[in-house]
């Protein structure tokens, strides 16, 4: 140690600020960060290698498990590449359905982020509120796809489930509630003084640095870098939708918050447009088991930024190479830059501000063979009732609250 006042502190791989294992080594002088380095790879699961030993359909579900939050992003990105190689045109309704799920996923991801950001700066009330509201969109996703995450919606050549008029109604109702809540959060974000104090001027990343370090998504858009794959390189049904790319010139964590809040509002309007414009028709076309030799690059605007997949096929039913570049990998290199000269206290929010998803980033262990076929199927309702009973036995009764909540929604 050259500097007697210097303290080295490791954040992670296990640390309350990080929701996933990742290690940051910070050198501190007092409360100021003088140097930082990142060590990634704790979540390396070998998915890219595993993809080469599986068929395209199996890969689709494997790729979906790259990330828990943006699962639909990865599976759509992958399936787009495969369809491009095979020359499959998917039906219009299927592309609208994919877009619908992807926007609902964006809503759920951004609300989740808002809560996490609140927690990182010690504002737990925001966490509790946003995560409560997030349940509305999670319920919708569960109703449409059967799952809260890892939706399993995509298949090569289209989607697997159609939506009913009841679903439509449910989505619109949830969107109305969420829109109102988001307006409240925007108002809160603009007015609450401790929030402003903790967010503005923190984790500065200039426009030049964004370009130099290749940051993507809301992180880049908050520094005035208006790149959005949905606009620049439209996929699915985005070419038919009317939306703005939200940018901000604050270049700090506050800007990133505003960009995400703005994107939430755009997402609500997009969901409404999708439901309005969605044509009737089939939801999938039959796809061949073997994909002809070829290669394709597919891009997708995940909630965290540009998701990039490269697929190379060799004429068999298994891909030759699958490359996944998750948005966090592009952004994580900007984190060191943002941490420079900052305070230890701001470290967690700066890291959180890129909405890191390290399991996405590391994607790649040999996946254990799992017996996915459960013998006993348990219905959703019976699980729920069991849970309620269990809590009642513990002396916690939600009946009253449930009624109250039901009235509110």
């Amino acid at each position: 140690m050259h500097d007697p006042g210097e303290v080295k502190i490791t954040i992670g791989p296990q640390h309350p600020a990080l929701k996933e294992p990742e290690s940051f080594l910070l050198s501190l002088h007092g409360e100021k960060i003088t140097a930082s380095s990142v060590r990634l790879g704790y979540n390396h699961r070998g998915i890219e290698k595993a993809c080469e030993d599986r068929t395209y359909v199996q890969d689709l579900y494997l790729v979906e498990r790259v990330c828990g939050i943006c699962s639909h992003s990865h599976s759509t990105c992958f399936v787009q590449a495969v369809e491009e190689i095979a020359g499959i045109e998917i039906p219009a309704r299927a592309s609208y359905l994919r877009t619908l799920i992807s926007e609902l996923e964006r809503i759920h991801s951004h609300l989740l982020w808002l809560g996490v950001a609140g927690h990182e700066i010690g504002f737990d009330t925001l966490l509790m509120y946003t995560w409560r509201d997030r349940e509305a969109v999670m319920d919708v996703l569960a109703a449409i796809t059967g799952n809260r995450v890892n939706y399993g919606m995509n298949t090569i050549g289209g989607v697997r489930r159609d939506i009913t008029p009841q679903h439509k109604e449910m989505v619109l109702k949830a969107i109305d509630i969420l829109e109102e809540r988001t307006k409240y959060y925007i108002e809160l974000g603009l007015g609450e003084s401790t929030l402003l104090k903790r967010l503005s001027g923190v984790g500065k990343l200039t426009n030049e640095d964004v370009v130099r370090l290749g940051a993507v998504g809301p992180t880049a858009r908050a520094s005035g870098w208006g790149r959005d794959v949905r606009k620049d390189d439209p996929y699915a049904a985005y070419a038919h939708l009317d939306f703005k790319v939200i940018t901000n010139d604050q270049c700090d964590v506050y800007g990133r918050t505003l960009v995400r809040l703005g994107e939430l509002m755009e997402a609500y309007s997009m969901v409404r447009q999708i439901l309005q414009k969605m044509p009737d028709g089939p939801i999938a076309v039959k796809a061949p088991r073997k994909i002809p030799a070829g290669e394709a690059v597919s891009r997708y605007e995940a909630p965290r930024g540009e998701d990039f997949h490269y697929v190379r096929s060799n004429g068999t039913d298994k891909p030759d190479r699958v490359k996944v570049r998750a948005p966090t990998l592009a952004n994580v290199q900007a984190v060191s830059k943002m941490l420079e000269g900052g305070y230890l206290a701001d470290m967690s929010i700066v890291v959180a501000a890129i909405d890191p998803c390290f399991s996405c980033t590391d994607r790649l262990i040999s996946v254990c063979d799992e017996d996915t076929q459960k013998k006993n199927t348990v219905s959703w309702e019976s699980i729920r009732l069991k849970g309620i009973d269990w809590y009642k036995n513990q002396g916690i009764d939600f009946t009253y609250l449930n009624k109250k909540l039901a009235r509110k929604f």
């Binding site: 790879g41 390396h44 990039f308 190479r321 290199q333 590391d362």
Partner: protein
């Protein structure tokens, strides 16, 4: 003439050896191979003169008798230019592009770990994404590597 065709024409004019090798697969997707000795020139030209200002990713591949490295460059968010170079299996070496894109460091380190391709000019640094005790000569993305086959891996575990 579409923008893709303009790019194709410009590249072909500048670099004669690229004639008829540039494939436009669809709107915004261009693929072509570059001889590795000419790579620096073409890459620098694409980045500096043609304003391909972002790099989406670098993909390393094991193709039967050699390794291929594909650089996915991006302009204005819409056009992806995919340059591919090859390197032999005996001594796979490529040059770093971190001079153009500092952010590409992670993609290059990933290739070093997973495919065992040496990247010249990359400063010493930690491993990514494999653990520090992973055997030096095992590279999972090589086709001859099979999961569970490594005894060293089990010893270290």
């Amino acid at each position: 003439m579409t923008e893709e065709e303009k790019i194709k024409q410009e590249l072909e004019q500048k670099f004669g050896f690229l004639k008829d090798t540039i494939a436009i697969k669809r709107k915004g997707r261009m693929f072509f191979d570059v001889p590795s000795e000419k790579f620096d020139e073409v890459f620098a030209y694409a980045v500096k003169q043609m304003h391909f200002d972002a790099i989406c990713a670098i993909t390393g591949m094991d193709i039967v008798d050699r390794y291929a490295i594909m650089y996915h460059l991006n302009r204005q968010g819409s056009i992806v230019l995919n340059l591919r170079i090859y390197t032999g299996k005996d001594n796979p070496v490529i040059k770093t592009v971190t001079l153009f894109f500092p952010g590409a460091e992670m993609y290059e380190r990933e290739m070093m770990d997973l495919l065992g391709i040496k990247v010249e000019g990359l400063p010493e640094g930690g491993r990514y994404p494999l653990p520090d005790n992973w055997p030096k000569d095992e590279h999972p993305l090589r086709k001859d590597w099979k999961a569970g086959a490594s005894k060293k891996e089990n010893q270290n575990a």
